[in-house]
């Protein structure tokens, strides 16, 4: 494939800067239709299975010794990740208005309990896919912020229409990457175009119209090329190793325009440590002045430290906080509300008054084990729920939580989806 040869008809047909799509949610109500949602989950599972299989079929035909194939394989991996993110498309949102309208917690909980009583064990486990993506108020706030950022840059040629950047922080597992990947997955469209290959033969090519581009920053040591190459791969574009940094940036500028990239997100930005590479990011930002760039890391302020220009450009920040104390109790109440188990488990309690005095409650253990990270909390609660379902237990006990946590420790790399898949 030539470095970049876009047919004129594609350039004229490109959609231009796209509006960013945020996850649509279903507000909780006593009329929440669990069987219908399960049906949609099953449909999504099946669709995901087929699509994943197709991608796997292509993957095995690729030759790892060929550079283009390696790049294509990377693209396929990215697509597979995005497919996973799309599995649960409409998360359940809980808000104060919905709670008031329903008349309190029990008015929402009882219908869930009643509907779950009619579910088979497997269906109950499938229902846990609900927890795959939780639009927490924090996440919602983040999306609002992103919407505002992008809005500034899309308001046409006015004084306000300039790129505004953001630093995204938070401990590992608090949901930064998930949030970014979710946005990237929801804002992906694929357009098939015919391109001429090196021998001049026209071939169908999937062109990614990606309004949100999210990449994990590579560790840069001797050149900044891998950063630009990753962006190209993300857009399903190929490159030659001989292409210079400057050329790569030029290609990207063009591709960003034709693909309608409205937001660039650089995850693990702390990998770009050397001052000269940080300046390259700044330089790229100058080339695309209207493009908001979100840089994410555990401590993103460190990334801008020591460079006044960088600090000035990335002068806004948002941090995902771990779930501890009262916040954890609130989150656990959300899990309890949607739990497929018939009895409430008192998950939100930090202390329990036993016969022989105060003892630590379930929330205290969850906080101790997970350190309040969303990823761990979700997988822990889902794991304990699966165990409870399997054992016909009416509620989650601390003992089950403990066993689930031990099982998580045994498989530290297990994702939420892996957990659910192991029971399908």
């Amino acid at each position: 494939m030539p470095d970049i040869v876009l047919p004129p008809e594609f350039v004229t047909a490109h959609p231009g800067p796209a509006k960013i799509v945020f996850p649509s949610t279903e507000v909780i109500s006593p009329h929440l239709d669990i069987p219908a949602r399960l049906q949609s989950y099953h449909y999504a599972w099946d669709r995901w299975k087929v699509a994943n299989q197709e991608l796997m079929t292509i993957l095995v035909t690729l030759d790892p010794n060929i550079a283009y194939d390696r790049q294509f394989a990377q693209t396929i991996e990215i697509q597979r990740q995005r497919l996973e993110m799309k599995l649960q498309s409409c998360p359940i949102e809980v808000n104060a208005a919905a709670i008031d309208a329903a008349g309190g917690y029990m008015a929402l909980r009882d219908p869930v309990r009643a509907q779950c009583a009619a579910l088979t064990k497997q269906e109950k486990i499938d229902w846990l896919l609900t927890f795959r993506c939780i639009i927490t108020p924090e996440l919602s706030e983040f999306f609002t912020k992103v919407g505002t950022l992008v809005g500034y840059s899309q308001d046409g040629p006015s004084l306000l229409s300039q790129g505004r950047n953001l630093l995204l922080g938070g401990l590992t597992g608090t949901g930064k990457t998930t949030a970014m990947n979710l946005l990237a997955a929801l804002n992906e469209r694929v357009q098939k175009v015919l391109l001429l290959d090196v021998r001049g033969i026209p071939r169908e090519y999937s062109f990614f119209l990606q309004s949100v581009l999210s990449i994990e920053s590579p560790v840069l040591t001797s050149t900044s090329k891998p950063l630009w190459q990753r962006m190209l791969v993300e857009l399903n574009w190929r490159y030659s190793s001989k292409t210079s940094e400057e050329e790569l940036q030029q290609i990207l500028c063009t591709l960003f325009t034709v693909s309608g990239v409205s937001l660039l997100m650089l995850d693990e930005v702390s990998h770009i440590q050397a001052h000269r590479y940080r300046r390259k990011v700044l330089s790229f930002s100058n080339r695309k002045p209207k493009l908001p760039i979100i840089c994410s890391s555990c401590e993103p302020e460190k990334w801008t430290a020591g460079d006044a220009e960088l600090a000035g450009r990335w002068n806004d920040s948002f941090t995902f906080q771990p779930y501890r104390g009262e916040r954890l109790s609130q989150l656990l109440t959300y899990f309890e509300l949607l739990s497929p188990l018939p009895q409430d488990s008192g998950l939100a309690l930090f202390e329990v008054r036993g016969k022989s005095g105060l003892v630590r409650g379930p929330a205290a253990y969850v906080e101790e084990w997970t350190h309040g990270t969303m990823k761990n909390i979700t997988i822990l609660i889902a794991g304990a729920m699966i165990m409870a379902i399997e054992q016909n237990s009416p509620r989650i006990t601390v003992e089950l939580l403990q066993r689930a946590w031990e099982s998580i420790q045994a498989k530290p790399n297990q994702t939420f989806l892996d957990l659910l898949q192991s029971w399908r």
Partner: protein, 725 residues
């Protein structure tokens, strides 16, 4: 016969007969101490019965601790039978057979089988084939059968022989074989029975709820209305009764249509009928007055797990104990004080007290005071102390032996779950203490740690004892802070025996202090119970000398005797007798091994099936040059292992590093280290206690739960909190 009935039947009461030193006595009356009985001398030295030959006073507790043999029986005939059995061996089966309460016709049938099979086998050697015929075993059997008046065919004989061998010729077991499976079983559908059992367990037996029988019955009716006359059929629940379904049906918060639409759940439900009110009340009475039988029924019907989950309500055992030793509880407590060593008066250490208390009388049955945290030795030592009379020990400390008279084999002992992993050793002891059914065995119940409901019983006792110790003794830790511990160490001067004596005296005092729960002293209550049930009968070490070794911890797994003996922990133990069998037809014989913690130089072999000791084995490496045995304690062995490790050798080579001086030196160092570590580990936690199981129990019992309002607030705030950094 139930365990309780068997136990009571075995106890010694006026009217019982006693064989002692060749004489036969009839026990006629109790004395006030409830330990001595007036006995009429019936026969002396195997002379013919002389009627009334005078009266003597027999102290039963003394009898058990003396070296003389004794046999007790309820009647003179039974006593004579026992004497015969003792002389000729295993005819005791017959007595058991009659006691089971089976139909006479089945017992007759069993007799017929035994008579035929044993008779034929006896006659076969006499069979001589006719001339010209060769000897065949079948022909011999045919010939033998024909000699019996009732003619049986060969097939019948083979059937009889199969049954005979299947039950090893035991009459009661053969008779039991003929009972229908439904023998003595209720005609009520299994679904109804389960519903009734469930509601009784959850609402009638429940500590907090305690519904009246009428309320429970009404709940039963309401439940059946809610479930459209359906309930769980235990027979369909192959992997146990699903607790979630049980909760759903019981809570009635979910429309039953939702459950009905679930095929997985519907498959487990079957029609149940509401029993009549009178049937229900009768059934309830059955529970109320016969805890043992109720327990057995639930276990058989729904399995152990269900029983433990729904019915193990500990307080009930404590409150419903009907006689001494029926329900007993064991627990331990670290005495918060330092004592000093006898030699240098410098090494400071603490003691752990393991105690056994009787629920009926609140009497302390026995205790063990050991310098290490509770382990198998602690509980087995406490059991030994509880089972046997303590007269000699009390006398040695200058205490009147009649002030602490509680003893006997426990029927059921509730133990901390922490001891469950030691259950093999404990279970063996509990089983073997029965001496082949001569005495009652001990049933062990491991309570989960959170089931601390009996804490009221035993922990209050510990609290009281500790308060008394604090007021009496120097060296007690009054406060857990640095200064408090330093002061306790500085003022420590008590030796082990001083503290033992103090605890013993406190126990005796406790026995004579009015207990608020029973309105009298534990001693009085014990005597009242004994007056009704009789004095507990226990085995003596004279009659059962091997029993003593059963109180030593049992090593896990079985051992075989190799060429160099039994190999344990790098040491070969050689049997005393060269004739101890190593192999049988199936290969190497597996033995159970008991080893004392205070002397690991010798071990004691027992058959896996039980019975008397097979042999004693001595560690060859542990012998002195003159061939005598050098007693090495387990602690010394562990230290020798540490020493071997320090010398970069394998721990199994510990015997090579068993230099007493070095070990003692190391012992002092390691002991101090361990104490420091123990103190660290035992530091009081900050805030609420870490006990997942206790939290689960509290939540399951609904002791603590969030209200609807709290849930609503949490959910509302989840939405409203500002999460900005």
């Amino acid at each position: 016969m139930s365990i309780a009935a068997e136990f009571l039947d075995r106890n010694i009461a006026p009217g019982d007969w006693l064989w002692l030193d060749g004489g036969i006595y009839e026990l006629t009356d109790h004395l006030d101490d409830m330990l001595s009985l007036v006995a009429r001398i019936d026969q002396v030295d195997d002379a013919p019965s002389g009627g009334d030959l005078g009266h003597v006073l027999i102290n039963i507790a003394e009898l058990f601790t003396s070296k003389t043999s004794s046999i007790f029986a309820k009647t003179r005939v039974e006593l004579q039978k026992k004497l015969v059995v003792k002389a000729i061996g295993p005819a005791a089966n017959e007595v058991i057979g009659n006691a089971v309460g089976m139909r006479q016709s089945f017992l007759d049938k069993a007799d017929e089988i035994i008579e035929l099979v044993e008779g034929v086998e006896k006659l076969i050697p006499d069979f001589r084939p006719k001339e010209g015929q060769t000897y065949t075993h079948t022909a011999a059997i045919r010939w033998a059968i024909k000699t019996f008046p009732e003619q049986r065919c060969l097939a019948t004989y083979y059937n009889y022989r199969r049954l005979y061998h299947m039950f090893s010729g035991r009459r009661a077991h053969i008779a039991l074989y003929f009972h229908r499976e439904t023998f003595r079983k209720s005609k009520m559908p299994a679904t109804t029975l389960h519903l009734v059992d469930f509601l009784i367990g959850r609402y009638y037996n429940h500590d907090e709820l305690r519904l009246t029988p009428r309320q429970v019955y009404r709940r039963l009716q309401q439940t059946l209305i809610y479930t459209n006359g359906l309930w769980i059929d235990p027979a369909k629940c192959l992997s146990g009764i699903p607790e979630d379904l049980l909760t759903e049906l019981d809570l009635k918060k979910i429309p039953f249509s939702a459950i009905k639409s679930n095929p997985e759940k519907m498959a487990l439900l079957d029609p149940a009928v509401a029993p009549s009110r009178s049937w229900f009340y009768a059934y309830l009475r059955h529970y109320l007055y016969n805890t043992e039988a109720g327990r057995q029924i639930i276990r058989e019907r729904y399995g152990e797990e269900y029983y433990e989950r729904e019915f193990l309500v500990w307080d009930h055992y404590a409150n419903r104990a009907a006689y001494p030793l029926e329900f007993t509880f064991a627990d331990h407590w670290e005495i918060a004080m330092y004592i000093v060593d006898k030699e240098g008066r410098a090494v400071l250490y603490k003691l752990w007290c393991t105690m056994i208390i009787d629920a009926y009388s609140r009497s302390i049955l026995g205790f063990a005071l050991l310098p290490h945290s509770p382990n198998i030795t602690s509980i087995q030592a406490a059991l030994k102390h509880a089972i046997f009379p303590k007269g000699d020990e009390l006398r040695a400390f200058g205490i009147d032996p009649l002030r602490w008279t509680a003893f006997g084999i426990l029927i059921k002992v509730f133990l901390d779950n922490a001891w469950a992993h030691l259950s093999e050793s404990l279970e063996t002891l509990g089983r073997e203490i029965s001496c082949n059914g001569e005495f009652n065995s001990i049933e062990l119940v491991f309570r989960p740690p959170y089931m601390a409901r009996y804490g009221g019983l035993i922990e209050r006792l510990f609290g009281n004892l500790e308060a008394k110790i604090k007021s009496l003794i120097p060296g007690v830790i009054i406060t857990q802070d640095k200064d408090g511990i330093a002061l306790a160490k500085k003022s420590a001067r008590y030796l082990y025996q001083d503290l033992y004596q103090t605890v013993l005296k406190l126990v005796v005092d406790y026995q004579h202090t009015v207990h608020s729960a029973i309105g009298m002293t534990p001693h009085e209550k014990w005597q009242e119970g004994i007056r009704n049930t009789g004095i507990p009968r226990i085995p003596t070490f004279k009659d059962y000398p091997d029993l003593e070794y059963r109180f030593y911890p049992l090593l896990s797994g079985s051992k075989t005797i190799g060429e160099s003996g039994v190999s344990i922990d790098g040491v070969s133990y050689r049997p005393d007798s060269p004739n101890t069998p190593r192999k049988d037809g199936n290969g190497l014989i597996h033995y159970q091994v008991h080893m004392s913690e205070t002397n690991v130089s010798e071990i004691h072999l027992f058959h896996v099936e039980g019975g008397p000791r097979v042999d004693r084995c001595v560690g060859t490496k542990l012998l002195r040059p003159d061939g005598s045995m050098r007693p090495i304690s387990k602690a010394e062995r562990e230290l020798a292992k540490a020493y071997a490790r320090d010398a970069n050798k394998r721990p199994s080579q510990w015997a090579d590093y068993l230099s007493v001086d070095e070990v003692l030196e190391l012992s002092a160092i390691r002991g101090e280290e361990r104490e420091i570590a123990d103190r660290r580990a035992g530091a009081p936690p900050n805030g609420p206690v870490r006990s997942p199981a206790q939290a689960d129990q509290a939540l399951a019992d609904g002791l603590d739960e969030l209200t609807e309002n709290q849930y609503t607030q949490l959910l509302r705030n989840f939405n409203g909190v500002n999460h900005k950094a």
